[in-house]
Subunit: 231 residues, 2 copies
């Protein structure tokens, strides 16, 4: 445990819009940040570089951990399954999508807990959101609470009475509200990447993640500063 | 989800003595096994090959997932910290040792849960033991129960009412009892690797893990079939 004057926090930072706004929230709450990015052999591995650009723009530390979830498969993001395109909000409410990565947030939060334990952080910031993706079970508040309990029971920090808590400040915000919050916090949206299925390095514009992002910017009345490969 | 006649189980298989006996128990209970080995840039990476040899000897599938826990550090097993040697049982009772890897079993079980979800397994076999290593918080039964709850809340399987359970059949056995159980189940002990700090590919004979193994075989009145670099 290092001597600390400022409290540290780990932010799970994918380079996407939500986790970048989450990092800005964590900074606004006074924490010294360590951005943890997971390179999991995802189809959209370009997001790892975006996360690095975000960390550099914010002037904070980034740690990258590689974990080969492609060896496990089972998701459109790590396997040869197709990424769904041009789905409506109604389509997206029809259960867990093909882009669900088995136990992904459980794995990512576990790595974040390990990082928090090593650097003496007591908080993990996590950009989960339940509104836009009702289908992802690992974004639900009951999962977050259960995860905190597992960390308390199964880590050195927990056994020494130092709980590691998970904060998900975007959990119940709409995408438009997240964008508005990011604008107030001067988030570098131009460096973020949301697309599940980029064409070269550019966003496809038609996967669930692109569609939700574009709708969010449109409703916020603000131009999305990133380029899309397709109109 | 694949059609199944025989139920599948995931076994966290390190190539060590405990996880190999655990795999043998899982097989004796009638499951079709998938041995999941985590290559985490551990100092004793040779154990990954031993796990493969065990899988081959048992005639079961092995899946290896790489996760670079060295990027997080904080342990004698993944960092430049020294591995303690020639400690007595009394020494080992003095709290959490330097070989504790932050949140390791939380990370490993999370990967096992992902694998279980993909292959339709409902059980994870886990070679945790609380007697020899009272210091590791992530081997305690309360951690295992909390982890199961997190998996239930945060996975597709859990949200569909299909719980993934963790069985730790060695949890309260002594090392001698584990060895005796393994002998009954014809475990290929000669292929297992327990050492934290191998010299070349041979066990050092003096780290906690080697000492506990050697004591276990001595008390069982059976010769340990592996070679040690130092007497």
């Amino acid at each position: 445990m290092n001597a600390q004057t400022v409290s540290r926090a780990v932010v799970l930072a994918s380079g996407g819009l939500d986790s970048t706004v989450t990092a800005a929230v964590a900074r606004s709450e006074g924490f010294e940040l360590s951005l943890l990015t997971i390179a999991y052999q995802q189809r959209h591995a370009v997001e790892v570089q975006h996360a690095g650009q975000v960390a550099a723009a914010m002037g904070v530390r980034q740690v990258v951990v590689e974990v080969n979830l492609r060896a496990l498969g089972g998701s459109a993001l790590t396997d040869t399954l197709a990424v769904p395109k041009d789905r409506t909000a109604g389509d997206r409410d029809q259960g867990i999508p093909a882009t669900y990565v088995p136990a992904r947030n459980l794995i990512f939060l576990s790595l974040a807990a390990a990082h928090a334990e090593v650097i003496g952080a007591r908080v993990i910031y996590f950009g989960a959101n339940i509104l836009d993706y009702s289908g992802y079970p690992d974004c639900r508040p009951e999962f977050i609470r259960a995860f905190e309990a597992a960390v308390e029971a199964g880590t050195k920090a927990g056994s020494e009475g130092q709980r590691i808590l998970v904060r998900a400040p975007l959990l119940t915000l709409t995408k438009t509200e997240i964008i508005q919050l990011g604008l107030r916090l001067q988030v570098p949206f131009h460096l973020t990447h949301s697309c599940y299925d980029p064409i070269g390095t550019r966003a496809c514009g038609h996967c669930d993640s692109c569609l939700i992002r574009r709708e969010g910017f449109a409703k916020a009345g603000v131009e999305d500063p990133i380029a899309y490969a397709l109109p």
